[in-house]
């Protein structure tokens, strides 16, 4: 498993396959030279043109005081295929942020203990941060 490494302005990004995400994450956390024990920021980006949703984890190391590195993983945009393994078992701090990514982007995190909507209300059906999201009022205008 050789992830795509990309260096943009002093931030290292690792683009990994979905199947390998969990293993990579565990390695990053436990390797004594890396020790990325602090998962600072979790979010998703909707790349409409590339037809994928990218989930980005920003990792820091509290023990060694280095970072960040961005761990990226991509999933297809289609709602039923948009699944990514959850990293909540590795870093507890992902819990709410993954829920947020699920809520706003529709990314399903397999293995997340409590994957519910967090910011939108439970009855809401769409995922409002997707680039092709049409707000209800605009829908009305289209008619």
């Amino acid at each position: 498993m050789i992830p795509t490494v990309e260096q943009v302005r002093a931030m290292t990004s690792l683009l990994v396959e979905r199947e390998e995400l969990l293993a990579v994450a565990k390695f990053l956390k436990t390797d004594p030279q890396l020790q990325f024990d602090f998962c600072s920021c979790v979010t998703a980006v909707d790349y409409l043109k590339q037809d994928c949703i990218e989930v980005v984890y920003h990792l820091y190391s509290v023990a060694l005081k280095h970072g960040p590195i961005a761990l990226k993983v991509r999933a297809p945009r289609a709602l039923d295929q948009c699944r990514v393994p959850s990293l909540t078992p590795v870093w507890r701090g992902c819990e709410f942020q993954e829920r947020e990514a699920f809520d706003l982007y529709g990314v399903k995190f397999d293995g997340h203990p409590d994957l519910r909507r967090i910011l939108m209300w439970d009855e809401f059906v769409d995922h409002p941060m997707r680039k092709d999201y049409v707000p209800p009022s605009a829908m009305e205008a289209k008619k």
Partner: protein, 370 residues
């Protein structure tokens, strides 16, 4: 012996509740007075801030960041400006960096003063500490208004510097505020920190172990109270923080009392930084010459910038396509992430404790819900 049949009581504390610090809800299951389950429910103030940010120009998001954590608009501005500057490669003039430090530390003072004030008010101290804190905060807000034109929604920083320069008069004003602050802290500490009722209420309540704090991405004073010696001002050395001599207080137990004390100690350190910054502030321009207001563009790519906001790590993850608008604009709000461990801290304690534990995390709903 017969047993009495008892029922769990499900109470939803909030969204309209005096001490949830906004429209926040805790779905609590109580066994008598004991909390056996607690689920935080948020989103009542959700306005899709990130999508608004994606529809705005780079500059247009700046006033919106004021509204994230409406107590600390200055640090929000800074975090956003810092992230954009990182991506656009703008160098900030020295004077502007000093001004930013002054503003951020004053923000820290007012935020911590109010946070401990509200925490004590949650303990039932009838608003006296809050009003003392507000009394001092008022002076800082006056200063902010003199400089930026608004008391809370400052909209002060720009990419590459700050909007308005500090003149001698406002610097004197800031010095007066800083000179007063230790006296206020002394008074405040005398009022509360040795109060037996407070000690009984807060010590050994809501303990957050160090490992959990790190694993749950808890940041800011909450993490430091648990013994995580991690301050972004020290680690990233953003701005000109490496030039100041200050210390970062770190607690041991990680209970509510530690979180309370860490904030007070941090205020004392902030006063130190402010003294140095106000003494050493160099002359020069307050905004980078290459910075421009209209037609500002950021090279394509993504970037993550973070600062130590009073509540913790405030980060902005931005993706640019090279255009006038961000492609993705994500806020990593400290109080939202810090809420992750609310349930862990509250279980087994009483409702009254759950309230003060929430108060000790110090959340602002504008930031949690975005």
């Amino acid at each position: 012996m017969s047993t009495i049949e008892t029922q769990m009581l499900e109470v939803s504390l909030g969204p309209q509740h005096p001490s949830t610090h906004g429209v926040f809800r805790m779905d609590v299951v109580l066994d008598g007075e004991y909390v056996v389950k607690l689920k935080p429910v948020m989103g009542y103030l959700h306005r899709n801030h990130e999508q608004i940010g994606e529809k705005m120009t780079w500059l247009g998001s700046m006033p919106y960041t004021d509204r994230l954590d409406y107590f600390c608009s200055m640090t929000n501005n800074w975090a956003y400006a810092l992230s954009v500057e990182k991506m656009a490669g703008i160098k900030v003039p020295e004077r502007a960096e000093y001004i930013r430090v002054i503003m951020a530390e004053l923000t820290r003072l007012l935020n911590h003063a109010c946070a401990v004030g509200f925490l004590l008010s949650d303990c039932g101290a009838w608003f006296t500490p809050v009003l003392y804190a507000l009394r001092e905060r008022e002076r800082i807000l006056d200063f902010f208004e003199t400089v930026s034109g608004a008391r809370m929604m400052c909209n002060y920083m720009r990419f590459g510097g700050v909007r308005v320069d500090l003149d001698e008069q406002s610097l004197a004003m800031a010095r007066a505020i800083v000179a007063r602050w230790p006296a206020f802290l002394d008074e405040f500490e005398k009022l509360m920190t040795e109060n037996e009722v407070l000690l009984a209420r807060t010590q050994r309540v809501g303990i957050l172990p160090r490992e959990l704090a790190i694993n749950a991405s808890v940041s800011g004073p909450v993490a430091r109270a648990s013994g995580v010696a991690y301050d972004i001002r020290k680690v990233d050395k953003y701005g000109v923080y490496d030039r100041f001599d200050f210390r970062v207080p770190v607690g041991e137990t990680g209970d509510t009392f530690d979180r309370f004390m860490i904030r007070i100690l941090e205020m004392r350190e902030s006063v130190k930084i402010l003294h140095q910054a106000l003494r050493d502030i160099p002359s020069g321009p307050c905004i980078a010459p290459e910075s421009k207001l209209r037609g500002f563009k950021v090279p394509a790519g993504d970037g993550y910038g973070r600062i130590e906001s009073p509540k913790g790590e405030l980060g902005f993850y931005l993706v640019s396509e090279g255009g006038a608008k961000p492609y993705r604009y994500h806020v990593r709000p400290p109080s939202f992430v810090n809420l992750t461990i609310l349930e862990d801290m509250c279980l087994g304690h009483k409702v009254a404790d759950a309230i003060i534990i929430l108060g000790s995390i110090d959340i602002v709903l504008g930031e949690v819900d975005r």
